[in-house]
């Protein structure tokens, strides 16, 4: 078993290492005027075609110098246009994205042998190695023993290396797509198989996301094999990731239908009401209209109804993609969430303004969509969208939300940022059948529940008073009930009236004695 673990580790790390240095690998790019013609917009042709033509019909061997050349051309032209105040000619796409577009069409594939050996090491051997490592680990490693001793889960050196790696990955993915063209090309065969097109950075991300979730999902199956709730919940998040977030959208693209993740709900799906999306959907006939209605019905009907019956867990820890990653890849880091009262205050000061921000942005967007006015009360819709996309969509949800798993735990985004979680949280807090029930006077205040609560809820505070836990932030992952050594906690949907035991029964004796809530 030990040998298998070591083999697994070696396979995993060789794949990871190769993946990490892959962007630095040499690759030949060959740009043709024909490709330029095909890929450039009219505006870009007018602005840049003359400058770009000298780059065609040349074999570019250096990825970075080629990308930087394109970036420089784009930047210089834009600077010039801005200086000359020719605002109608200024190009609003980022230079990186522009460079990525050109690189994408000028990629020359590696030799068959090199290409497939890299593909095999990174996309086959690496996850299989991880799987081998997980499957050959003994029972102790599938428990919470040593969580605070192991450097990876106790914010020591490996945790910092992992964080740095994740941060770098997200920064490259969001803002430097041209530099990760080698990664993107790597998953081309899969993309072509699924949707018939070459891959893009977001296909790469979706694919890796799914692979990571599957491998770590199997870890969940082993760790919680005696807990039916965790097993079914994990199957559910894997299903929604694989089917709804990954496969169905790709199949839709293959059928020339609009790309849509049918389980992604506004305001988490913040650009659902953006002009381009509504336009695409409307132009796509019945299916497009259905998608538009589906998205609206989810927000207006499904979210409140399901949250009323099951609490926000129906989404956050059963369906959601962010939640799915948090509950698989993030599970080993769940104990790192901060349980102070101060961070609870901070949570409320950040998450509710974020909802407000998303609502304001969407209202502006719809105003612009219907009135064709770009500004309202001095707020420019596109500027606001850009700020939201950058700050909330990329920095908060991606870079901070996932990049900092090993430092601040696995639910930073869900706890502090997600506007959909906030919306459902309000319903869960005030109008829902969901609660965590405590079992009489059995709590020994050990604190396992609080320690392993990924949302930073001080579960013990309630449990030791014999009080039900009704909190806006609870995502109903069920781990508190699992780690409790005395079986004190139970997630339940039941009659609303039994939810708040406002005068909790602290001590049960003959002639029931009630204690005031303080």
């Amino acid at each position: 078993m030990k040998l298998l673990r070591i083999i697994g580790l070696i396979l995993f790390f060789s794949g990871l290492l190769l993946f990490s240095i892959l962007p630095l690998f040499k690759r030949t790019f060959y740009l043709t005027p024909c490709a330029l013609e095909h890929v450039l917009s009219e505006q870009e042709k007018e602005n840049l075609l003359a400058e770009l033509i000298p780059l065609t019909h040349i074999k570019h061997q250096q990825l970075f110098s080629f990308a930087n050349k394109i970036i420089r051309i784009h930047q210089q032209k834009n600077a010039l246009l801005k200086k000359q105040k020719q605002w109608d000619k200024v190009m609003w796409d980022s230079s990186q994205e522009f460079a990525y577009k050109l690189l994408r069409v000028s990629v020359k594939n590696d030799s068959f042998k090199i290409r497939w050996s890299i593909f095999f090491i990174i996309l086959v051997a690496c996850p299989l190695g991880g799987l081998l490592y997980i499957l050959s680990s003994d029972k102790k490693r599938q428990s919470n023993y040593f969580t605070f001793f192991l450097p990876i889960t106790s914010v020591k050196w490996i945790a910092y290396i992992l964080t740095a790696w994740l941060l770098a990955f997200y920064i490259l993915l969001y803002w430097f797509p041209a530099y990760i063209i080698n990664w993107v090309v790597l998953v081309d065969p899969i993309s072509k198989f699924l949707n018939g097109n070459e891959a893009g950075p977001w296909f790469l991300y979706g694919f890796l996301y799914s692979v990571v979730m599957c491998v770590m999902g199997i870890k969940m199956f082993l760790k919680y094999k005696n807990n039916a709730y965790q097993m079914i919940r994990t199957i559910s998040v894997l299903f929604f990731q694989l089917a709804f977030a990954f496969l169905i959208p790709e199949i839709l693209v293959r059928l020339n239908k609009p790309y849509m993740d049918l389980k992604n709900i506004w305001p988490l799906d913040y650009d659902f009401f953006f002009e381009w999306n509504i336009q695409t959907l409307i132009e796509n006939g019945t299916l497009g209209i259905f998608m538009l209605l589906w998205g609206i019905l989810l927000v207006v009907i499904a979210v409140p109804v399901f949250t009323y019956f099951f609490g926000k867990r129906w989404y956050c820890s059963w369906v959601c993609g962010c939640g799915g990653l948090a509950e698989t890849l993030g599970d080993p880091f769940r104990h790192l969430s901060n349980k102070n009262i101060k961070s609870w205050k901070l949570e409320r000061w950040i998450i509710y303004p974020t909802v407000l921000f998303s609502i304001i942005m969407t209202v502006l967007t719809l105003y612009t969509f219907f009135s064709k006015q770009n500004e309202f009360l001095g707020l420019n819709t596109y500027e606001i969208q850009k700020v939201y996309g950058f700050l909330i969509g990329s920095v908060f949800a991606g870079v901070i939300g996932t990049g900092l798993y090993p430092v601040f735990g696995n639910r930073v985004w869900c706890r502090f940022g997600c506007p959909l979680a906030a919306y459902m949280g309000i319903i869960q807090r005030f109008k829902s059948r969901f609660r965590i029930t405590t079992n009489g006077n059995q709590c020994i205040s050990c604190g396992n529940c609080s320690t392993y609560c990924e949302m930073g809820i001080d579960v013990r505070w309630y449990a030791q008073r014999g009080q039900s836990i009704v909190r806006a932030s609870c995502v109903g992952c069920g781990i508190c009930a699992n780690v409790c050594p005395r079986g004190v906690l139970k997630l339940e949907n039941s009659d609303e009236h039994t939810r708040y035991n406002k005068n909790p029964l602290i001590i049960q004796k003959e002639g029931v004695h009630l204690v005031k809530n303080t």
Binding site: Y145, N441, C446, G447
Partner: protein, 430 residues
């Protein structure tokens, strides 16, 4: 208005802390808690998780450090040397302290039985935070450990050592493991759970002597004159009240501090609660000293009511307790073990493949139930209590068993299997 009284509590465990909180809820008295163990209250049962790396020590503290100041509860990290009952004065290591009312909540300490060599390095009990630190040192390079005693502490220590890959043997005085506390079927399930984790159990074996070299343990000698090498010995032969510092006072003690049903000691304005209190006349079917978390809580609340409102009798209600042996959860409500065979009988169900079991003890004639054992199935405390208190018949309990189910959602339900066995069992129709 009375003058603001000063209430001093010795011990910041669950009993002392509950007393302080409950007094604060009811009054504006000055409250001071003295402890020589830790500056802040922590959950003692959670120490094992710190050793296993499942929690950090700070996680065992149920309240944030500023909680005490906010609630005007003064904490004094000092050791009580002497209690002067007539002058109402405490002599501490570093100062003296006057009290109007004293609550003794000084807890327990591991019981040692004057074995030869018990002072050797690597021989220790497990109770306090100091024990945790010593355990960390004593088991640094430990490969083989012996645990003396077969109770709950031994089971917990076994899991702790298991987490560190230390080969462990339990020495049990009785003929069969857990025989004193559990009927043979349940005892067997618990034993299986422990041995499945690689822990060896040796019954009818007691320690005679700890053998050492250079002040460190190297082996133990058993009552069968066998020498078992080991580099650590955990003494898990129970705990006794921690009351040595009272020897010079006029407070009456026996094994523990003697108290009446109001938790009053022989001295006025002095109370004793929790592990250190010994009931002069224990309640029927209950022990005079109960070292259980929730009884400490109930005593703390009772004494607070007595001090702030009116004299209140300590009434712990229907007995219950729960424990966990590795992955096997155990709950008990009411009386099951040691029942009179001629008057009472019990119905037992076990699912051998899933390691689940349920036993319901009942009165032969009236069929009303008196106690429940549950292994691997979580039951609702208030439902079980109601059943026992209201003397509900076993037929009705079996019928309504699902009402008591506290297992997580989607767990396999065993009620059908149980009621089927109950319906078909000859045992009952007899």
């Amino acid at each position: 208005m009375r003058n603001k009284q000063h209430i001093v509590i010795i011990g910041n465990g669950i009993s002392g802390t509950t007393a302080a909180r409950e007094i604060r809820k009811r009054s504006d008295y000055r409250i001071t808690i003295v402890s020589n163990e830790t500056p802040y209250f922590f959950s003692r049962p959670a120490l094992m998780y710190v050793y296993m790396g499942q929690m950090k020590f700070e996680h065992t503290q149920p309240y944030e450090n500023n909680f005490w100041k906010k609630n005007k509860i003064e904490l004094l990290f000092d050791e009580v040397i002497k209690v002067n009952t007539s002058e109402k004065k405490l002599t501490l290591k570093n100062s003296t302290l006057h009290f109007d009312i004293l609550i003794l909540a000084c807890g327990s300490k591991p019981a040692f039985y004057h074995w030869k060599g018990q002072e050797l390095r690597g021989v220790q009990g497990f109770y306090s935070i100091h024990d945790l630190k010593r355990l960390e040192e004593n088991t640094q390079k430990c490969k083989k450990a012996i645990l003396i005693g077969g109770g709950l502490i031994a089971a917990e220590m076994a899991e702790m050592l298991y987490s560190r890959n230390i080969h462990t043997t339990l020495l049990v005085r009785e003929k069969k493991y857990w025989q004193e506390n559990l009927p043979p079927q349940e005892a067997k399930l618990v034993e299986n759970e422990i041995t499945q984790h690689g822990i060896a159990i040796r019954c009818e074996t007691q320690v005679e002597e700890f053998l050492g070299e250079n002040g460190k343990i190297i082996a133990i000698k058993t009552n069968q004159n066998e020498i078992i090498p080991c580099d650590f010995a955990g003494v898990c032969t129970g705990v006794i009240p921690n009351i040595d510092f009272l020897s010079t006072s006029t407070i009456k003690v026996d094994k523990g501090i003697l108290v009446n049903e109001f938790l009053e000691t022989n001295c006025s304005d002095i109370y004793a609660i929790g592990d250190c209190a010994q009931q002069k006349s224990p309640l029927p079917l209950r022990k005079d000293i109960e070292q259980v978390w929730y009884t400490g809580k109930i005593m703390g609340e009772t004494v607070a009511k007595t001090i702030c409102e009116k004299k209140t009798i300590y009434r712990p209600g229907i007995w219950f307790n729960s424990a966990k042996f590795f992955d096997l959860e155990f709950q008990v409500y009411g009386q099951v073990g040691g029942i009179q065979k001629n008057e009472y009988d019990s119905f037992y169900w076990e699912n051998t493949t899933q390691h689940k079991a349920l036993r319901i003890a009942y009165h032969k004639q009236s069929k009303s139930i008196i106690g429940i054992h549950s292994l691997g199935i979580r039951l609702k405390q208030n439902v079980c209590e109601e059943w026992i208190k209201n003397k509900v018949s076993i037929n009705q309990v079996i019928e309504q068993l699902n009402k008591a189910n506290f297992n997580p959602e989607f767990y396999t339900k065993y009620e059908k299997e149980i009621s089927h066995l109950f319906a078909t069992s000859i045992h009952y129709s007899a």
